[in-house]
């Protein structure tokens, strides 16, 4: 199959590549750019472990084809910590004991980030809707909700 050229920005870095058009964004991130912080849990958009930001919106990277990300800006878990400074959400996940096995955590954090970018002061119900596409088998979700609440701007 003919390769296509895509240009995009990943974690603030300009990227231009020739890729197989059947490749998913998840494969691009993990296998080509070696950004393995984004996880693969089901490959069908059910678990949310591969959630990244695409132009500020949370997407399941396993469901996005590379052609769709041409000219887009992608942010992954690797860019959440800036200059050695944890994002407020990350800090809050530690403080609220919202991390156990950690496999859903990058996706969970990126969904939460997308939510707070759009709605800096979400209610508990809005937080739940914002994270409803992310499965976690460890926590029972309570501490994750608390962690997002703990990162809300107005509470600081």
């Amino acid at each position: 199959m003919n390769k296509i050229e895509i240009r995009l920005k990943v974690n603030d870095k300009e990227i231009c590549m020739n890729v197989d058009p059947t490749m998913t964004l998840l494969e691009l991130l993990r296998n080509k750019l070696l950004l393995t912080g984004t996880k693969e849990g089901c490959s069908t958009g059910e678990c949310g472990a591969c959630t990244v930001l695409m132009d500020g919106i949370a997407v399941n990277a396993c469901l996005v084809l590379v052609a769709q990300v041409n000219q887009s800006e992608i942010i992954t878990i690797e860019a959440l910590e800036q200059d050695g400074q944890l994002d407020r959400l990350q800090q809050s996940f530690i403080e609220n004991h919202a991390v156990q096995c950690g496999f859903c955590t990058p996706g969970m954090l990126m969904s939460a980030k997308a939510l707070l970018l759009k709605n800096p002061n979400p209610t508990e119900a809005e937080i739940k809707i914002g994270l409803s596409g992310n499965l976690c088998r460890c926590t029972g979700y309570g501490n994750i909700v608390k962690a997002v609440e703990g990162a809300i701007e107005s509470k600081h």
């Binding site: 993990r30 070696l34 950004l35 393995t36 912080g37 984004t38 996880k39 693969e40 849990g41 089901c42 490959s43 069908t44 059910e46 678990c47 472990a49 992954t76 878990i77 690797e78 959440l80 910590e81 944890l86 990350q90 996940f93 530690i94 403080e95 004991h97 991390v99 156990q100 096995c101 950690g102 496999f103 859903c104 955590t105 990058p106 954090l109 739940k128 809707i129 994270l131 409803s132 992310n134 499965l135 976690c136 088998r137 460890c138 926590t139 029972g140 979700y141 309570g142 501490n143 994750i144 909700v145």
Partner: protein, 759 residues
């Protein structure tokens, strides 16, 4: 001892930044990809496997079958690395394709031609034991049987004023870690290096060595980050580890296999479905006089640890009650279903669902309060179990007291919306801790550490960090015993080349074994340092205090920073380190007389659940769960709560939504679109209460915390459903179909469904 402060987890940083490396995040030069080939029927005789066409595909390096397995492919009744002559369920692997890329391996697997003959299959354990059923292993499908007999059950029923008989069933469910299973094998000069996430790295080493014809010291397992276990990453990971190892040995290149989610569901092990028949007799005042339990578990296609699962279920089947006359027999049968194996709770959730549903049914028949019947019959200090074991450190009544205080079961629900009903239910549990006498190995763990010259510490523990926070417990105990900041202590990755075999991290044994071993190791290192300083300072070693990164004597006439003290020691003694072992007291079981000391200790718990049921759709929404668990002593309160809450969430899936379904011998629930885990939208308000009543009989006073909460929730939910609907459901789960069917049988509910208005 003062109550400990909750401590943040050291493993969290890597996990929140994407820096934690799980097995699928690892890549090695020249690495090949391995794909399993299966036969899509429940039972088949393999006539011929032809890899010619696959081998012609660009990138395919090898196609291997059972004939290529370098060691023992299969032990009797157990899972083979690859099925040789016959597949016994649709998930059985028969060949592997090894290729340069994952895509080529998947494509290659589709080109492997298999000539097979479909055989008759059996998917129900009752049918499996009938005359003429297709036999899976040897002469019979009979796989396991355990009994617990106490007193004279017939005489006990004669004494009873009331006898009731009920039957309960539990479904096939899955651990469903979000990380799919996988492994990487790297050939080295003297053996194999295996990156393999499993809860029993030493078991993996032994299994892979045996399957691949290697000595145990030729297999080195390094554990990457573990993306959840919940009882899984056990038998499956042994098979995966053996497949990548044989591929690496046969190609002499690193080989990786990561199961897709569909493969995890199709080949992966599941929770045993149980059918349990209970007969119970009681006096009018609520005192139980006799209980007879007959159960049958679906073992699936291979044995794995089913005998131990059935044994635990047999030991715990009555629930935490003083009963003079007991007969329990639980059996297991082979079927052509996916293999049943360990899942969080290991047999307890099945029997707790039945026995705790039964207690409510009995209470209702006797006109008693459900809490009262539990108080009348519940275990207290010195009670004798069904297996004749005298109990110590019994905290059941403390759990029930806390339940009464935090979850008044008879509280009338307020503000029930039109077309909905609400109800409340409770349950309780006793659960054996750690391996117990169902396994033969000595139940022990080691913790060792080196104190570096800069005063930092690196720790080696054989208990795995699988998300439960077990590593942090070890760091915390060393920190508080040595008086060293936890930031200065690091857990080394688990590598079987350096770490002492401490068994598998199962049975909620992690904190009990490695926590106490950490205490022994820390005291060992302290004594080493104190002996050196005592001689220099001309004081008794016992006078030396370790606190706040300093080492001193009380009047401060001698005081050193911990780092300087360690440096000084390095000039006098050959090294500064701590070695610690800790074992649980011995237990035993006599299979002939069906008696013994089953578990060294038991934990207790109580649960309350409130449900709101939509009468139109049948949807059960759990609005509140209170889960109280006797943990002996709390090490890290927030993490203990997190373990309990996680167990509750998993159990809500068991109660309401999760079922592995098959059609014509094949799985239909092949991904998370059909196998329904609890989402954040389903998650109720969970109040997790780790309770400190009497401490356990070990130096730290700790009990296990990770599993009991998976067992108490489903009966509490079903008791709440009965409270709401007035109808008893006895089959897990309470999905839309079964609840709606129950509602439709009730005239009263039809009336309420219409908003209380007659049409």
């Amino acid at each position: 001892m003062a109550k400990r402060k909750s401590v943040d987890r050291q493993d969290a940083y890597a996990k929140i930044t994407g820096k934690a490396k799980y097995v699928n995040d690892l890549f090695f030069p020249g690495m090949l990809y391995v794909q399993t080939v299966r036969i899509p029927v429940a039972h088949a005789r393999i006539k011929k496997i032809d890899g010619t066409e696959a081998l012609q595909l660009n990138g395919v390096v090898g196609v291997f079958t059972a004939q290529d397995v370098p060691g023992i492919n299969q032990r009797p009744k157990d899972r083979p690395v690859l099925a040789a002559h016959e597949t016994k369920y649709a998930g059985d692997g028969v060949a592997i394709v090894v290729a340069e890329t994952k895509e080529q391996a998947i494509l290659g697997a589709k080109l492997v031609r298999i000539d097979f003959e479909e055989l008759p299959y059996v998917m129900n354990p009752e049918d499996a034991l009938k005359e003429g059923a297709p036999i899976l292993h040897g002469e019979t499908n009979f796989a396991a049987s355990h009994q617990a007999i106490k007193g004279n059950v017939e005489a006990g029923f004669v004494e009873a004023d009331l006898i009731i008989e009920r039957e309960y069933t539990t479904q096939r469910a899955m651990h469903s870690a979000i990380e799919p299973d996988g492994a990487i094998a790297i050939p080295e000069a003297n053996g194999i290096l295996l990156y393999c996430p499993g809860k029993g790295p030493f078991n993996i080493k032994r299994a892979v060595a045996s399957h691949c014809g290697l000595h145990e010291n030729q297999v080195r397992v390094i554990q990457p980050a573990l993306g959840g276990v919940f009882g899984g990453k056990d038998s499956d990971i042994n098979v995966i580890g053996a497949r990548v190892t044989m591929a690496a040995m046969l190609t002499n290149r690193p080989c990786k296999m990561i199961w897709s989610r569909e493969e995890v569901l199709e080949e992966g092990t599941k929770r045993h479905p149980f059918k349990l028949h209970y007969k119970v007799g009681a006096k009018r005042d609520g005192k139980i006089t006799a209980m007879e339990i007959n159960g049958l578990a679906d073992v699936g296609a291979y044995l794995t640890k089913s005998a131990a699962t059935v044994w635990r279920a047999t030991v715990e089947a009555t629930g935490p009650y003083n009963i003079e006359n007991i007969f329990t027999r639980i059996e297991g049968a082979f079927t052509n279903n996916t293999v049943s194996d360990a899942v969080r709770g290991f047999g307890s959730p099945q029997v707790d669902f039945a026995s705790e549903s039964l207690m409510n049914e009995l209470a209702k028949e006797l006109g008693l309060d459900p809490l009262k019947i539990r108080r009348i019959n519940g275990f207290t200090e010195g009670s004798i179990t069904a297996t004749g074991q005298k109990l110590e450190c019994v905290n059941l009544m403390a759990c029930l007291d806390k339940l009464e205080e935090t979850f008044p079961v008879n509280k009338k629900p307020s503000d029930v919306p039109v077309g909905k009903v609400r109800g409340r239910g409770i349950s309780c549990i006793f659960r054996g801790e750690a391996m117990g006498a169902g396994f033969k190995e000595k139940d022990a763990a080691a913790v060792n550490f080196n104190v570096e010259k800069d005063g930092t510490i690196v720790v080696y523990s054989g208990i795995t960090e699988q998300g439960q926070g077990g590593s942090n417990v070890v760091l915390q105990i060393i920190s508080e015993t040595m008086g060293v900041n936890i930031e200065n202590i690091k857990m080394s990755p688990l590598d079987t080349a350096y770490v002492i075999d401490s068994g598998a991290t199962v049975g909620s044994r992690g904190t009990i074994t490695s926590g106490n071993a950490a205490l022994v190791a820390a005291n060992d290192a302290k004594m080493r340092i104190a002996t050196v300083l005592a001689e220099m300072w001309k004081v008794n070693p016992e006078m030396i205090i370790f606190l706040d990164n300093r080492v001193f004597i009380e009047d401060q006439t001698h005081c050193l920073s911990f780092k300087d003290a360690v440096n000084l020691c390095y000039t006098v003694i050959p090294g500064v380190y701590g070695h610690g072992w800790w074992s649980l007291p011995p237990v035993w079981w006599d299979f002939d007389s069906n008696s013994g000391e089953t578990y060294a200790s038991f934990n207790y718990g109580a649960c309350g659940a409130e449900v709101e049921i939509d009468l139109v759709s049948g949807k059960v929404e759990v609005t509140e769960v209170v889960a109280i668990h006797d943990v002996g002593r709390i090490i890290n309160e927030e993490e203990a709560k997190a373990q309990i809450a996680g167990g509750v969430s998993m159990a809500l899936g068991l109660a309401l939504s999760e079922t592995i379904a098959t059609k014509n011998g094949r799985l239909v629930t092949t991904n998370f679109d059909k196998y329904l885990l609890q989402t954040i939208m389903d998650s109720p308000n969970i109040t997790a209460i780790p309770l400190e009543a009497q401490p356990a009989n070990n130096p730290l006073g700790v009990k296990g915390v990770s599993e009991s909460s998976t067992a108490t929730v489903s009966p509490a939910v079903f008791n709440a459903i009965e409270n709401a609907l007035g109808i008893r459901l006895r089959n897990l789960p309470a999905d839309l179909e079964s609840v709606l069917a129950a509602i439709e049988t009730s005239e009263r509910l039809g009336y309420l469904k219409g908003g209380g208005i007659h049409e």
